[in-house]
């Protein structure tokens, strides 16, 4: 009994901790003035301005598009790579793993600038594709990192057993391995999406004219003062994500009742 109360309290405290700044953000999106230091009155003007602000809407579009694409692509490549790496042994494996860590441990500026130099050297035209490629580059290591422990945890004879029973390697992969490591794939994709949506430095140096994302817009406003239109947008994004989450959850509940299975 006591432990259940403690657990609930702990979770609620943590959620409060995580959401306190978000609530502040949302509240100030209704602030009449540009200032984050003083509440001057309730106003919807930033929400109004948001819908006529083309550059920010364009930034939103690119941010979400790149985040979704890089999350999906890096999860696919990362999953296959993780399974492959898991099957390796010896020095080769260690080298590959260490190389894999580099985008994680390097400061953003080093990754950004070295990728920029690489792209310039190859001669790719900077634009949407270079930004996407750079995002995928720093997302894949995190996906691999998320999936490897699951592969380690998985009983290594599971796949063998399936193949002994007549499954082809592809079938064993699809129906046995992947469901086992699904939590890892799920968290990997989530982490990739989260990283991509908030990236500034790497995106800034690897984009072309006319492509931008929300982080770049926000940081560029740092000198003059962040236009609260961004607050309004963030609040809408937040509410939107919550709504999407609740919606998916309702559908999942239906799924569970139907098939008794969730991710």
């Amino acid at each position: 009994m006591v432990s259940r109360v403690f657990k609930k309290l702990y979770i609620y405290l943590t959620l409060l901790f995580l959401y306190a700044p978000i609530i502040v953000l949302i509240v100030f999106s209704f602030n009449d003035s540009k200032s984050r230091g003083k509440w001057t009155g309730f106003s919807l003007r930033w929400y109004k301005d948001l819908f006529s602000n083309d550059s920010i809407l364009k930034a939103l579009y690119y941010t979400v598009a790149i985040a979704l694409l890089s999350a999906i692509i890096s999860t696919i490549i990362g999953t296959i790579a993780a399974i492959g790496i898991h099957g390796m042994n010896g020095i080769g494996k260690k080298v590959i793993l260490n190389l894999n860590y580099l985008p994680v441990l390097n400061p953003d500026i080093v990754t950004a600038v070295s990728l920029m130099t690489l792209f310039k050297f190859i001669g790719i035209e900077f634009g949407f594709s270079t930004m996407l490629l750079s995002h995928i580059t720093f997302c894949i290591p995190y996906v691999i990192l998320s999936i490897l422990p699951k592969l380690k945890q998985m009983n290594k004879h599971l796949a063998e057993a399936a193949m002994d029973l007549g499954a082809t390697p592809m079938y064993a992969l699809r129906k046995v391995v992947i469901p086992e490591i699904m939590p890892g794939i799920f968290t990997g994709a989530l982490i990739a999406f989260t990283l991509s949506i908030d990236d500034f430095v790497i995106s800034f140096f690897n984009k072309g004219a006319g492509v931008t994302n929300l982080s770049i817009e926000v940081y560029s406003m740092a000198r003059l003062g962040i236009n609260p239109v961004i607050n309004a947008l963030s609040s809408l994004m937040f509410v939107g994500s919550l709504a999407l989450l609740l919606f998916i959850n309702k559908r999942n509940d239906k799924n569970v009742k139907k098939k008794g299975r969730v991710i």
Binding site: L18, P21, I22, R36, I109, V110, L118, G184, T187, L242
Partner: protein, 277 residues
């Protein structure tokens, strides 16, 4: 084994997008003169320059801060992962998303919001003083920076640990209970050891970027000290000395990889499947 072949496409990717840039960084680090690599001479001067107390001090502070935030994040995050992992499957996914969604809001905005919360006249102090207490000093010191770091890195610790905890073979726990183990013993002897792969991933995903992070300390620490990430960025952006900046990066890289190698010694399986030496 056929599985190995699956990694080949990624190896090609690594070769292009990670190795080549790494080689570039390395080349910059061992040369000097001019912003171009073409008319440069090979030298170890850049590395020598770093071996000065003022720079080593910067590295030391960064690592110390990263260690502290990693430990706190682990201590705070592990229970969260455990609690969520024990919930019903339908509830679990929602809770995980709830933990991650705040991270989708822009980092700068979230950190600025902390200023509003922690300031002398901020929200928290408003509540504290209304209750009759003296205002708290919550900003522009190490505590605030650690708070910010934990805030930003928590999901990266919770998620990997959760993904491992969620699939711990329940029959092992049941067997232990049948044999008379109490909750504490079950945790220390079964749950925790089995969750180590996830913990190591969590530590990796937090410690490594934490060493090179500096924006949080700039915003919540009042820019009171210089961190290695800051130093590197200054070299690339302000001073324009890509050679020195690259050298510092290489030194930092080596340092972190060694630290992580020591951590992986905790990995019970000796086959070295974690990597890192």
């Amino acid at each position: 084994m056929k599985m190995k072949a699956l990694s080949y496409p990624y190896i090609v990717w690594i070769a292009i997008f990670i190795v080549v840039p790494l080689v570039l960084v390395f080349l910059y680090a061992i040369t000097a003169n001019g912003g171009n690599l073409t008319d440069a001479r090979v030298t170890l001067d850049n590395f020598r320059k770093f071996m000065d107390p003022k720079y080593l001090d910067v590295l030391w502070i960064s690592v110390k801060l990263a260690l502290q935030s990693t430990v706190i994040t682990l201590v705070v995050g592990y229970p969260i992962a455990m609690i969520i992992a024990k919930e019903k499957p339908s509830k679990r996914n929602i809770m995980i998303f709830l933990f991650v969604i705040p991270m989708w809001m822009n980092f700068l905005l979230r950190t600025y919001a902390w200023l509003t919360l922690l300031g002398k006249n901020g929200v928290i102090n408003f509540i504290v003083t209304s209750l009759g207490f003296k205002p708290l000093d919550l900003l522009y010191h190490d505590g605030a920076v650690l708070l910010g770091m934990v805030y930003n890195f928590l999901p990266f610790m919770v998620l990997p640990i959760y993904s491992v905890l969620v699939k711990i073979d329940k029959s092992l726990i049941e067997a232990a209970e049948d044999l008379g183990a109490n909750k504490f013993q079950i945790f220390t002897k079964i749950t925790m050891p089995l969750s180590i792969p996830g913990v190591i991933t969590g530590i990796t995903m937090v410690f490594m970027p934490a060493v090179s992070t500096f924006v949080i300390s700039r915003l919540l620490g009042g820019g009171q000290y210089m961190l290695i990430g800051n130093l590197i960025e200054q070299q690339f952006l302000w001073v324009g000395d890509w050679h020195f900046g690259s050298a510092i990066s290489i030194i930092m890289m080596i340092f972190i990889l060694i630290t992580m190698a020591l951590t992986s010694k905790f990995d019970s399986e000796k086959e070295g499947s974690r990597g890192l030496w």
